[in-house]
Symmetry: C2
Subunit: 663 residues, 2 copies
């Protein structure tokens, strides 16, 4: 590969080469600065609350000590599961993205010290894995469960983040030595298939970063090598390990959700770098299948506790939804790659749904507790083994917390792309965005209170002296919208979702104003989702809402509420321990509590008996579980008999909530 | 304990002593002979198909070889999970009950040879566990997971079955030596709490069989010792092991279902033998809680795959119902003990529901395949790990198949009891039953085609020369029934469930005729069961029905059917590979298949669009999965909008199906 093909100044986690077959490209350079807004707040919380906690946990849980044992050559004393190193790598990746934006001496010091530890622990031939080195187990002997290449993949991803953000090359050098070792060990053979994918996309990214084509070849080999039952059995079968069918023949995701989803990022990366349209098409068809049959309203997937796995089609139980946080992250990363490959807004729509709901709920409001499992319902008496099901500081299997941190730290890289001399805005959040278009910079400032408010103002700060495009994603949930350019309504944009693309010669001071329809709305499940029959959920803009016991009047159990779909009231407020929010209120009936005697099965339909009218109060799902740990549900029974709600009267479009902002 | 208190000629698996505080007593001697009928057919199938298969599997899976290794003193080579011995013991128990009824040289030879192996493998101090002996692990060092006392419990139960059925004492002697060793090791200490209960009820039964009070004391210690977190952690927490709360304070079953349910048999056994009413009351209140909030329509419990555990209250998903077969067996055994303790017919009602549904479905029609998990729904694309979810010959964890065999082999012992000079019939099945009442034998012959037919004729063959009682259980599902004695209607019996008790001086030739209402009926879930909202099931007599894809017309997916509750047609028939049955047919609509694009969530309720009227065909659940392995559901969507079905016209009571049988 010619040097010219390498990306210079790439900053995001996934930066296709110039020869890659992609429709969109991430921004070069420091293209996006988040400014205030919810996502910016999340990044600040990540840096000030979450990452310091991770640093303490990596010490107390033994991850760092495992490295020290490896350095000292001691045999024995290893702590934790086999993939403890990966928690360190994910944390380093998060720190790298942070340091690319903001100086932080504590984080920088940790990164430098830990990088030095890793360099010392690495063996002469490039191999590095504290578990294998400290326990004395044989390398690559149990790849179905040893996570050796999984850890290598996270090391590579961390090193790329460091290399693209702040690092002079120390961590990247460790990663390249390991990657070169992997190439010399596995390239051309049939082995090297790790039970847990992630190394595939990491190797492609390392190829993108360095131009070394062998990394891409090895990634391709790993992707194509699965599906022949060669990996072995970790106890949960070959579907669990994505080894039941060759990837090109696989119609639907199955098995362990995080593994399946990480693998798809690798599939798309290989497909776009090699221009393999059939391989890309197979991944797209699995994405479509996942979204239409195996995805929750919160954008999450992997519904089964058993095997942390995808369930059957339409197996989407709210209470037993496993929805591992890492699966939400992996899904987000996969969708991003498909968005780059195709430019289809459906991928950005899912990313947004995941981000603000399934993923957003994985962190407490204070950034100090994390969830591994993200159900859509928690009963008041809930226990999972000995765990009542609230967020925790850390886990014995701590894959999720540092994974959350690395995604939040890198969120700015997912905000915008370019395609054909146009700047595309995918995530609508307060930000300054600059992109090189038509030989000059198009710089815009996005002002919005999104996701709370549907108004998005994109002001041009500087622009090329020629035509170029500016595109804003209109989310599919917005049923109609107003679009004004410099105060003039743009007709024809009102009922179209997707990218609203305007091509013109832009001038500083140009103002594009989008008004999305964030009116609260009722959402119903497809009839094939058995577990949700007869229920309804509330959404507002990109946010899925939930009913927490904490918000209902004393004595009114959410298990005895049935919602009457009609007008929904909204109330901006700030809730102690939760923060600023918009609360929704829906008409409901409180049903007489049931006290079953004998079997809970009856000779007549049981929709409950109305006790009194009530108001059911909902908060955004991403803000749940910051108070009392009591019951929650997203999907509420519809007050029976089920009737189609009469078409509700909608106010004419306008800035009803804050008239002073309207022009 | 005085010798007089011991039971002589006790034959069943649970025979309280004469001083036990119980309302009912099992029949002494060979009190029940099953004659033809469904249960008798099951026993024959068990002897001719299932048990020979078990004998082969115990050889090929290595269970017997483990014993041989233990005898030879070889260290290493042990095969299978730690509790492989228990599969042998359950098989021996099944064989014992069989040999108590029917001579079978193959089974007798296996029992004799295996008993000899066990006697040889047993160590001098009475200890016996092939896993510990062959692996060289330390005894009792990991009781939270080693299953040593669990295996001991099953040995004792097998030995008691042998002692009560045919054995001269060889197996009982092995069991007593082990039990004596347990007493000397654990009685008076705080240890000896096995992660998996079963030894508790086994020790009580050994006390009942031998009169050795130390066994009862040790059982009591084991029951009372749980709940203080002393057992340790097998990885799934202390709830999993029933170690989170002292048994007297425990309000609801939690954790691993089989463990929790086996423990309850021990609790009731200890409570009845010691006359401890508070201990008994605590078990009863947990039974009530389980039945009203954690039991499926099929009588099964333990809904969670994760941890094979009880879920939260009303967490009863049909598709993900775990419903382990062993849990159904354990529930049956617990209910039987509560029935003996209290005489309350609700326990017999649940036993019947379990027997014909949740348990009955665990065996294929040919008796050669068994299910471990018993869901109430299987989608067409179902996979659980690599398993499409059909019955199998055996399992790597093979607890269920031999457990099924021991219950079926002992079914005759659960048919009847005596209480206060009355004979109580609990399971209505063709049989000859004799009981010692008022100093003489009351012998009856039960003629019925139950569960297919609701007519039950109880003819007196011989009777004491004085008043005594004859009681027949009227199941709670029978909404009205006719009762005739010697052709005369007995008024007032029509609307009462429970035991219909007639006290009189009976004479040979007396004929009591009960006509139960086995008309097919619709059953609806309590509104608190979220996973079943908007659905309806079909039952007929004690049988729960299910809709299998195999019975619907080609091209009509059961996922596109919605049932219109109205008249149900019934059709007696015989289905190849299934056997004699009564098929039910319900009005339904076939809905237009959905092809979701994008997320399966909509802005309006989705009850589906009627395509055409259809007839949905159902077979008894216990007969499912004998054909093509395709989709099945018990709970079908009610055609929306949900309306209360108009009161259906019921034919006047009569013998409509076979008029020639009516008087």
């Amino acid at each position: 590969m010619a040097e010219a093909e390498k990306l210079v100044g790439a900053v995001g986690p996934a930066c296709p080469t110039l020869t890659a077959v992609v429709a969109h490209r991430p921004l070069n350079g420091h293209g996006v600065q988040l400014r205030d807004g919810l996502l910016c707040t999340w990044q600040r919380r990540n840096r000030t609350a979450s990452l310091p906690l991770a640093l303490r946990q990596l010490e107390s849980a033994g991850n760092l000590n495992n490295l020290r044992l490896a350095i000292s050559g001691v045999n024995g004393g290893y702590q934790g599961p086999a993939f403890m190193d990966s928690d360190i790598y994910k944390t380093l990746e998060a720190i790298s993205w942070e340091l690319g934006r903001t100086a932080d001496s504590d984080l920088a010091e940790f990164a430098a010290e830990t990088t030095a530890l890793l360099a010392k622990a690495q063996l002469d031939d490039g191999y590095l894995n504290s578990c294998i080195q400290v326990t004395g187990r044989r390398r690559y002997a149990r790849l179905e469960s040893s996570h050796e290449l999984y850890c290598a993949g996270h090391l590579i991803q961390a090193a790329i983040a460091a290399g693209r953000s702040y690092d002079g090359g120390a961590l990247l050098s460790v990663a390249r030595r390991f990657a070169d070792h992997l190439v010399s060990t596995f390239l051309g053979g049939q082995g090297g298939l790790d039970g847990h994918p992630v190394v595939e996309s990491a190797l492609v990214e390392l190829y993108r970063q360095t131009g070394t084509r062998a990394y891409l070849q090895l990634a391709s080999q790993f992707v194509e090598g699965r599906g022949y039952g060669r990996i072995g059995d970790s106890g949960l079968g070959i579907r669990y390990l994505q080894d039941s069918q060759p990837i090109r023949e696989l119609a639907a995701l199955a098995g362990h959700a995080v593994r399946a989803l990480y693998l798809e990022s690798g599939v798309v990366d290989v497909a776009t770098e090699t221009g393999d349209e059939r391989l890309l098409a197979s991944s797209i068809s699995r994405w479509d299948d996942m979204v239409s049959t195996k995805t929750t309203l919160t954008g999450s997937s992997g519904s089964r506790h058993s095997g942390e796995a995808f369930g059957d089609a339409f197996e989407l139980p709210p209470d037993r939804a496993y929805n591992e946080t890492c699966a939400a992250i992996a899904s987000f990363q996969w969708s991003w790659r498909l968005l780059l490959a195709t430019g289809d807004p459906k991928y950005a729509d899912l990313m947004e749904r995941v981000l603000y709901n399934g993923f957003g709920a994985a962190v407490s409001a204070d950034g100090r507790r994390f969830s591994y499992v993200n159900p859509l319902q928690r009963r008041g008496d809930h226990f999972e083994n000995d765990d009542p099901g609230s967020r925790r500081e850390w886990f014995s299997c701590a894959c999720c917390p540092p994974n959350i941190m690395r995604l939040i730290a890198s969120l700015d890289h997912y905000v915008a792309t370019t395609a054909e001399d146009a700047l595309y805005l995918h995530l609508l959040t307060p930000s300054r965005i600059s992109a090189r278009l038509a030989g000059a910079d198009l710089s815009v400032e996005v002002a919005t209170d999104y996701p709370w408010d549907g108004r998005v103002r994109v002001g041009v700060r500087s622009a090329p002296m020629t035509d170029c495009g500016l595109a804003v994603r209109i989310p599919a949930w917005s049923r109609e919208q107003s679009v004004r350019l410099n105060g003039e309504h743009i007709e024809g944009a009102a009922n179209r979702a997707g990218y609203l693309l305007l091509r013109r010669e832009w001038h500083p001071g140009d103002m594009l104003e989008i008004g999305l329809d964030v009116q609260p709305r009722f959402t119903y499940p497809n009839r094939r989702i058995d577990a949700l029959r007869g229920t309804v959920a509330l959404e507002r803009g990109p946010l899925v809402y939930c009913f927490e016991q904490a918000d209902q009047p004393t004595g009114m159990s959410i298990e005895d509420l049935a919602v009457n779909p009609g007008v929904i009231a909204e109330r901006p407020t700030s809730i102690p321990d939760v923060g600023p929010t918009v609360v929704l209120e829906a008409d409901a009936v409180h049903l007489s509590p049931t006290e079953p005697e004998g079997l809970p099965y009856l000779a007549h339909p049981d929709a409950g008996t109305d006790d009194h009218r009530a108001t059911a109060v909902a908060v955004p799902y991403f803000q749940w579980d910051n108070r009392d740990g009591r019951a929650m549900r997203i999907w509420m029974p519809v007050r029976a008999p089920t009737v189609r709600p009469s078409p509700r009267t909608r106010p004419p479009w306008g800035w009803a909530r804050s008239p002073q902002d309207a022009k």
